[in-house]
Chain length 179, copies 4
């Protein structure tokens, strides 16, 4: 299970609507993470390095948790635990210029659940890169967010039709099949 760009200070241009929608999906991601924990599916945080290039996950997480408002709420509820993996990405796709693919091969993972923001950028570009590398991808509609619901829905339709990515909501995912 990948959690994309949910640890953030939301300091980029017009981040407000995205943050609002991200806050709404956080509970579904938290619930899905608990289900993954229960059956032993590893959780990998794939997060922007926000131009810092310092491989410093703790700083990213601390700064995200320290802020006021919904961004801090998200970060505190979803903060990575000791056992979770963490990959800092310099660009949109989690696979570009990162060790993500090596980590997934190391974990003997063939299937991915993608959650986080934003659906049309980092989630979608990580999803297509995953398909191109022959991973099977799920992208639960209630686990991803965009600036507008319409943009999210169009992106999900696109992923579904062009790459056969399943976008059924997270409660319908049958996790034991993944292990």
């Amino acid at each position: 299970m990948l959690i994309i760009d949910m640890m953030s200070e939301w300091r980029f241009p017009s981040s407000e609507p995205l943050l609002r929608h991200a806050a709404r999906i956080a509970p579904a991601i938290e619930a899905l993470r608990a289900r993954c924990d229960a059956v032993g599916v590893p959780v990998v945080y794939v997060n922007d390095n926000h131009g810092r290039w310092r491989s410093d996950l703790r700083k990213v997480v601390q700064d995200a948790c320290a802020q006021e408002g919904p961004g801090g709420d998200i970060a505190r509820s979803l903060a990575p635990r000791e056992r979770d993996y963490f990959v800092l990405k310099p660009k949109h796709s989690g696979f570009y210029a990162t060790p993500l693919e090596l980590l997934l091969r190391h974990l003997h993972v063939g299937q991915l659940i993608l959650t986080g923001v934003s659906t049309e950028h980092c989630v979608s570009m990580t999803a297509t890169d995953a398909c191109m590398r022959d991973f099977k991808v799920w992208c639960p509609a209630d686990g991803v967010a965009s600036h507008t619901p319409a943009l999210r829905d169009r992106t999900l339709t696109q992923l579904q039709e062009s790459l056969c990515i399943c976008t059924d909501p997270s409660p319908s995912l049958r996790l034991p099949e993944l292990v």
Copy 2:
């Protein structure tokens, strides 16, 4: 300036001779780092993730500094500062499955000084990958170490003859030319 794999707990098989030689080159690296600071050459730590896949530089540095003996001395004298960059690599070469190349392009760097351990593995493989990407590479003989001086010297001869990499000792490097 790259500092390769000097932050370590030295817990791999037969690390003892390598650690001993690493301790001897630490002062030269520290002096070179001070000269880089003085002229504004950025310093990038390129360090093994030691199978942790957690992008957690602070844990790597803390564990290295906390140990007794020469490994701790090295780590404390060379620990990265706030302004330094840090790239965790999953394999030997600093360029493989990491954002190193993107970072160097972002810093508009065309020339690299390589220091650290071990000369024949991570330093040499990072050096060849750098040459293949058209960076100009210096590898000062007093800034790199191997299990034996003979192995270091043969590797340096190899880099010099096959890739035209300059291996003159660090005092002879003219840093202002790099900026």
Copy 3:
């Protein structure tokens, strides 16, 4: 200017509607190629290797030209000339596991015109990979085709809104600005 997957025997499942729409965009691509020739914009064919892994562009082009019907018409009208570049790609994106990025850097290219098929797969995935590598991308609506016009239009809207890719039709492209 990239021409994607137009040299083909169209032997994949349900290729018929895609071929029909590809035939309709071939004249616009041919006209755009002539304009690129006139101002010295290099033309790069980015084409599937169709599972052959033999880097054999001539066989791909010969087989495509030798067939009856619209696939042969397309191939004969758009066959690469001596001066054109040719990159065989093993997967959807022209940038994945190919020398395309190195070639474009070698040509000192910073802007790309993407044409060919299919809009939602290879064109779109090459476009997003190009944006991630900081190329400026044009994707003229009359130079790309999908199985249905609706799918093409939705993909173009997606590229436009999420990646700011210009999709204006080819006659409106001002080529001299590219050189």
Copy 4:
């Protein structure tokens, strides 16, 4: 089995000594290729594109075979057959900016025999990249050549000691173990 850079017009600076040594190893490579054929080990040509960027293996092979002298003899004796694979590489390592790794995964290959020229550049850099990707590598001493035997021997010693690459001569390779 990889055959590296043996299809060439040998038109680079000071190619003469390398060509002379390459001519001497051609019979051993031919014999090894026949043994690979006999047990079904796939043969992959990994060859420089010589700045052409046109994925045109036939032109590379034709030009190599057409020349007078030892370069033509080598090319004619070792020219790729219909069933062989062919990867054009833009730089030294066969893995950099090419589909080689994908091809090897596609062929379910975990072990590589490296032959060709030059030992200290393309062979050595392909060998280290292969080791970093967890392939097991053989580099038979009688199947690789350098500008001087001394340079070849030092490179082989280096590969052997630093990467545990077997450099026993080709007659001692037990091919059935590879399949």
